[in-house]
Symmetry: C2
Subunit: 136 residues, 2 copies
């Protein structure tokens, strides 16, 4: 397993088969899966696994900073194993979420300086993906 997801294991963090399977599914995954997506993928490929464990593991990983909890979807939480700062394209038709790793210059409004100290930002681009554009 690659460096990135090893971070998930710290002191007092056990390497169980369930967790390894979840991490294995997340490794390099760009689908921004929900807890249910994780559950379905892992139970299909590997062995039985409970929802409670999926949630426990995702929460532990999020707290450890190994995965990012995305609040892009109003209906459910989604998880991103890529913790490098990046942005997202959201297709308004199929709701697909696509990563943007390219650097996006974001101007900082003047009003911020006075009343807010900014550490980071996240840009959501709304539009149509190529697949949905063809269907029009």
């Amino acid at each position: 397993m690659k460096q990135a997801l090893k971070k998930g294991f710290g002191k007092g963090f056990k390497r169980t088969p369930q967790r390894l399977a979840i991490l294995n599914y997340l490794e390099g995954n760009t689908l921004h899966p929900s807890a249910e997506d994780v559950y379905r993928a892992v139970t299909k490929k590997d062995f039985p696994l409970s929802f409670a464990t999926v949630y426990n593991t995702l929460n532990a990983l999020a707290q450890a900073g190994t995965v990012r909890e995305l609040t892009i979807d109003a209906e459910r939480k989604r998880y991103d194993p890529n913790t490098e700062p990046h942005h997202h394209l959201i297709c308004l038709k199929c709701r697909k979420i696509i990563d943007v790793f390219e650097d996006v210059p974001v101007g900082k409004p003047k009003c911020i300086e006075k009343k807010f100290s900014v550490f980071g930002n996240h840009v959501e681009f709304y539009g149509h993906c190529s697949a949905c554009r063809k269907k029009c």
Copy 2:
């Protein structure tokens, strides 16, 4: 009632006291309230009102484009009566959400052109608000 929220009323849309009270609370509101916030504020100031009606009304208004449903908070939906394109500051300590109406120039990454047509964007700035900065 001002122009903006009159849009909420179209053909076959009834002007009930409950809806007027909800619209009245939303008018000019910059708190990005949740359904529960709406419920509490209206029942306190006006008359009894059911949660079902709050949800029905908010959904109808969102569908009509009179309010924007925000997916900024992982725990619950929040609603923004300001439908002009604008951005948000999110305080990582108190979770307060502050509007940014100032124009924020956002560069469009090259990778987008090929595989995605962009209609709009939304920037979330993460940081600490003035109140929380003082507490540090």
